[in-house]
């Protein structure tokens, strides 16, 4: 008897996903038992990858994201000879979800990468700390965020992962001799992070209900999502709405 009930629930979820979610939302709860404003448990592990200069693994419910930062030497931009670069890249591969195809980054990955880059360009890392020799050599930090399992809310997990990897990062000590840069990996120094960012995503499901930290099933039904990022002092760093639906002003105020 219990077996057939479980099968019926599974079938209902597949055939009528909207109705399935509505049954829960109309009662003020969600299909995994969370309250609409409740976030999933977040676990962060730093320094998980020994081949990268800074790394972190973040688990947000079932969503698993790994961020690795590699530091390489390059010539700084002519306009800013004292600054290095921070390049962020989000990688969504078929490994994490059947929605993505193998090959060059798809649209969602590129949008996520762009947004993360803009978010972190706004004063998290002092780029002048990445300078080796003014005008000659600087560090470029390539931060790659690889998604291992996709169960909704990649952006939040990616922001947390990048933040943790930057905290974990040890930039090798570098010296320049007659045009050749030699770096010693055993002597690393930490960067000072001027701001710590904390993200929160609120998704408008089915035009009616605003839920926090949507998982994959809810994201599929979502019409819009709002990302709010605050820093350690409670100041707003970023508000971003994505999705084709229109979000009422009241809903935005609720998120903030």
């Amino acid at each position: 008897m219990a077996g057939s009930v479980a099968f019926a629930i599974e079938a209902f979820k597949r055939i009528h996903p909207v109705e399935f979610e509505r049954r829960f939302l109309s009662q003020g709860t969600r299909h995994d038992g969370r309250a609409p404003g409740q976030f999933r448990a977040l676990s962060v592990a730093k320094g998980t990858i020994s081949t990268a200069h800074g790394s972190s693994t973040v688990r947000l419910g079932n969503t698993t994201v790994v961020c690795g930062i590699k530091a390489e030497v390059c010539e700084p931009d002519v306009k800013t000879p004292d600054e290095g670069y921070l390049v962020t890249n989000v990688d969504l591969s078929p490994m994490c979800s059947a929605r993505f195809r193998a090959g060059p980054p798809g649209e969602s990955a590129q949008v996520a990468s762009e947004h993360l880059a803009r978010l972190f360009a706004g004063g998290v890392v002092d780029l002048r700390e990445l300078c080796i020799e003014s005008g000659q050599a600087a560090w470029v930090l390539s931060a790659d965020i690889v998604c291992l399992r996709h169960d909704g809310n990649i952006i939040d997990a990616a922001v947390v992962a990048l933040m943790a990897a930057l905290e974990n990062l040890a930039v090798p000590a570098a010296a320049v001799e007659s045009g050749v840069v030699s770096a010693d990996r055993t002597k690393g120094r930490r960067l000072t992070l001027r701001r710590r960012l904390f993200p929160a995503t609120f998704t408008l499901v089915d035009d009616t209900c605003v839920v926090a930290d949507a998982d994959d099933a809810e994201e599929q039904l979502a019409t819009a999502a709002v990302l709010v990022v605050v820093d350690a002092r409670g100041r707003l760093a970023n508000v971003w709405k994505r999705g084709a639906g229109a979000v009422g002003r009241q809903a935005i105020a609720q998120c903030l």
Binding site: S50, P94, D144, V146
Partner: protein, 208 residues
């Protein structure tokens, strides 16, 4: 570690020392050729950009990643009962999160795919276990890490099905004598049997 995923048919995360590999298997799903009598198995192998201890890899598929994809296909395909899945295709996506020694990473990838295929419930003759060795001086050393591999004269990779006592893949780089190769094959297949025991234990415990 094995897990039941919501999207992929089967997933596996494999750790061997410092090597960390994640694999997702999709299938059987609709194949590309509608008149094929047996299913096809495709493997897509890639390194994460921060996986190797040397320079960061770009996102464009390198030639070595394509070569390794083919190695994995040839090593694992003989174990799958492809004639049970006509017109279907089974896709495996492998991402190396952290790598330590190229031959050892390929061996670990083969083990990871075997575990993921079992997690997906794909019919197989047997699980494939793989092992790598390097020739340091006159002795064969098992499972070389990156510095050991750089110093080794020769490297050997063997993929083996212990239940059927068949070698599905063998690859040797470097100079050896026939006797040394013979000895390596013997030792490697013994070690593959041990790796196979570990994989089977995990599969059994995940069922409970």
């Amino acid at each position: 570690a094995l897990s039941s995923a919501s999207a992929a048919s089967g997933t596996a995360f494999y750790e061997q020392g410092k090597i960390r590999i994640s694999c997702a298997v999709y299938g059987p799903r609709q194949g590309r050729r509608s008149n094929a009598r047996a299913g096809s198995f495709d493997c897509d192998f890639r390194y994460a950009p921060f996986a190797c201890s040397w320079k960061r890899r770009s996102h464009v598929r390198g030639a070595d990643e394509k070569e390794i994809s083919l190695i994995l296909e040839h090593a694992v395909a003989p174990a799958i009962r492809l004639e049970a899945y006509p017109k279907a295709c089974i896709d495996a996506f492998v991402t190396v999160i952290e790598s330590d020694g190229k031959a050892a990473t390929i061996a670990a990838a083969i083990n990871c795919i075997s575990a993921a295929l079992a997690d997906a419930g794909i019919e197989m003759y047997d699980s494939v276990a793989a092992c790598s060795m390097g020739l340091a001086g006159a002795r064969w050393v098992a499972d070389c890490a990156q510095p050991e591999e750089d110093a080794a004269l020769c490297s050997m990779l063997i993929a083996y099905m212990p239940g059927a006592d068949e070698i599905t893949y063998i690859l040797q780089h470097g100079k050896t004598t026939p006797e040394q190769t013979d000895q390596a094959v013997q030792t490697c297949t013994d070690m593959c049997a041990r790796v196979y025991a570990v994989i089977c234990r995990y599969l059994q415990s995940s069922l409970e």
